[in-house]
């Protein structure tokens, strides 16, 4: 019996930030269950996996297999299922990130293990195993009881604080038997941004009030000052002012940063559904009746073209 945490590694061989969240989460869960937390890395890593012990895990299963060089949910699932068996894991934890969304459901079927995806907190384990998850696009929560012996949880990004202490994990090589992947990765294109939107702790987002793509420079400056990622509302993406992968909202990306700064966005319910899990929302809009102010923690009613540069300067002053 153990809690096994999937360590997600990007194309550059780095452990994703979302994995640090699930390592902390999985370690806390293992403590709660009176067992050990262990990790599993399938992709080649350039980082020292033993150092992940500082997040509370005792052991890392490191799989080396050429078939796992690129992410393929079908191949990864077969590999993971074998490691779950080797580890005797009874709970498997993923981030509900892009890879987790592909992998956790497949593993659920392979292991006949109930899946609670989009968890936002540690489960209740004193009686039944009940996981709180976000539903209705962040407008409510559901408590999901997992009824199977092996349980799978995928944790929503930015739902759990990373905690690092002391410790080193034992790195254990693990062998798996898998077929060649049926999916061939032909290219990877990264955005020219320092902070990926899904992992960002702060996000600056623009809407139609920006009036055109040529005005995005003031938001880029603010985002840079705040170490934030850039996002936009649906009309902006639809008008091709910004790439569609920056669109946040019900039919775009769903995010939960610590700070969400909405500039020139009225706050349609579809937009709110993608951002309402943000811990602090700042709204800048010249329309005092913009619905977004009802969801905001802080607001400025004013001309964004005057307010945003002042905001950027004030942040720079704070940082010295």
């Amino acid at each position: 019996m153990s809690v096994l945490i999937f360590i997600d590694i990007n194309e550059e061989g780095q452990v994703k930030k979302t994995s640090l969240e699930v390592l902390t989460y999985g370690s806390k869960l293992a403590q709660q269950l009176g067992t050990d937390a262990e990790g599993v890395a399938l992709a080649p890593a350039k980082e020292d996996l033993a150092a992940l012990g500082k997040y509370g895990i005792k052991k890392v299963y490191q799989v080396s297999n050429g078939a796992l060089a690129h992410f393929d949910a079908q191949v990864y699932t077969k590999a993971l299922a074998q490691v779950v068996e080797q580890a005797g894991a009874t709970v498997v934890v993923f981030s509900n990130n892009t890879d987790g969304k592909a992998l956790a459901p497949r593993l659920s079927v392979r292991l006949k293990a109930g899946l609670a995806s989009g968890a936002t907190a540690l489960p209740e384990t004193s009686g039944d195993f009940i996981v709180k998850k976000s539903v209705f696009s962040g407008k409510a929560f559901a408590n999901i009881k997992i009824t199977t012996p092996v349980k799978i949880i995928s944790l929503n990004p930015n739902s759990f604080s990373i905690e690092a202490g002391e410790g080193t994990a034992e790195v254990v090589p693990a062998t798996v038997t898998v077929d060649a992947p049926k999916i061939k990765v032909t290219s990877v294109q990264k955005q020219k941004t320092d902070v990926p939107l899904a992992e960002a702790e702060r996000v600056v987002s623009g809407g139609r009030g920006m009036k055109g793509p040529e005005n995005w420079g003031i938001l880029e400056d603010l985002a840079k000052a705040l170490d934030a990622a850039l996002a936009c509302s649906r009309p902006v993406a639809d008008a091709h002012w910004r790439p569609h992968n920056e669109h946040v909202g019900q039919t775009g990306g769903t995010i939960a940063p610590n700070l969400y700064v909405a500039v020139g966005i009225s706050g349609a319910i579809q937009h709110l559904a993608g951002v309402n899990r943000s811990k602090v929302i700042v709204v800048i809009n010249k329309d005092p009746d913009a619905p977004f102010f009802k969801a905001a923690d802080y607001g400025i009613v004013g001309d964004l073209f005057e307010v945003v540069p002042k905001f950027t300067e004030a942040v720079k002053q704070l940082k010295g």
Binding site: S108, G118, F141, A142, T186, K190, T193, N245, Y298
Partner: protein
């Protein structure tokens, strides 16, 4: 080419979210039901575009649900689906839904299975992966572009901080994301034609539930916005730094 598009019935985005029966059931009073937007805008419309490029393509729709889903199935037929199957199973968990879809897919011999990246009610993102595993097919999730060249698909999918281009031979299961296609409105001709298109109802295969939704809850109400003078932006920065502690 045979495409299976999975469609879900979800509450309209603007629906009031409330619960009944001691917070164990979604309150459906006054709720307008729609096709899950990710299924409609991206999965179904991209399938229609593929059909427009190759007239021999047939678009099959599948929904797992009760008779109250028929209205949204007819709308999907009006948009461009050719025929539909409703598996008469109300409210199973993701595994139950995936089991029903996989059962139909096994018998149908589909080249492509499309569905939205998630439903806007349960936000599970689970059914696509489960269907793919049940069928032992490749699965490309969060697809933002899909191009077909004979029996090979070139699919762009979202990854953290970028996109990745995948190449895969059919059959494949694809969960569809923004970028795949643009929303369409059904026209009168489509609505009239949809009335006579086949909508077959079948009884579900046996499927056990792996999870049970026990209760629901609402997030705590917000305290209300703190408005700051636009001439005093320093105060906003001070509050974000000292009060909210987010910068």
């Amino acid at each position: 080419m045979k495409i299976l598009v999975c469609i879900s019935k979800t509450p309209d985005t603007t629906a009031k979210i409330a619960f009944t029966d001691n917070n164990t059931k979604f309150d459906t009073a006054g709720v307008q039901w729609i096709i899950n937007p990710n299924d409609e805008y991206y999965a179904l419309v991209r399938a229609i575009e593929l059909k427009e490029a190759d007239a021999s393509t047939v678009i099959h729709l599948i929904n797992v649900g009760g008779p109250d889903a028929d209205a949204i199935i007819r709308k999907a037929l009006a948009l461009g689906g050719d025929e539909a199957i409703r598996v008469n199973a109300d409210n199973p968990d993701s595994f139950g839904i995936a089991t029903q879809i996989a059962q139909v897919a096994k018998e149908g011999g589909f080249d492509l299975i499309f569905l939205g990246k998630e439903t806007i009610d349960y936000n599970g993102s689970a059914v696509g992966g489960m269907v793919a595993e049940l069928l032992d097919l490749p699965y490309v999730s969060l697809a933002t572009r899909f191009e077909l060249n004979g029996t090979t698909a070139t699919i762009t999918r979202e990854i953290e901080g970028g996109e990745e281009v995948n190449e895969v031979s059919l059959p494949v299961v694809v969960s569809c994301n923004k970028g795949m296609a643009e929303q369409r409105i059904p026209n009168m001709r489509g609505i009239m034609a949809a009335r006579t298109k086949p909508l077959k109802v079948v009884e579900p295969a046996a499927a056990e539930a792996l999870t049970v939704t026990e209760t629901f809850s609402l997030p705590p109400a917000k305290a209300g916005v703190k408005l700051i003078d636009p001439d005093n932006v320093q105060e906003l920065v001070r509050l974000l730094h000292e009060e909210a502690k987010v910068i």
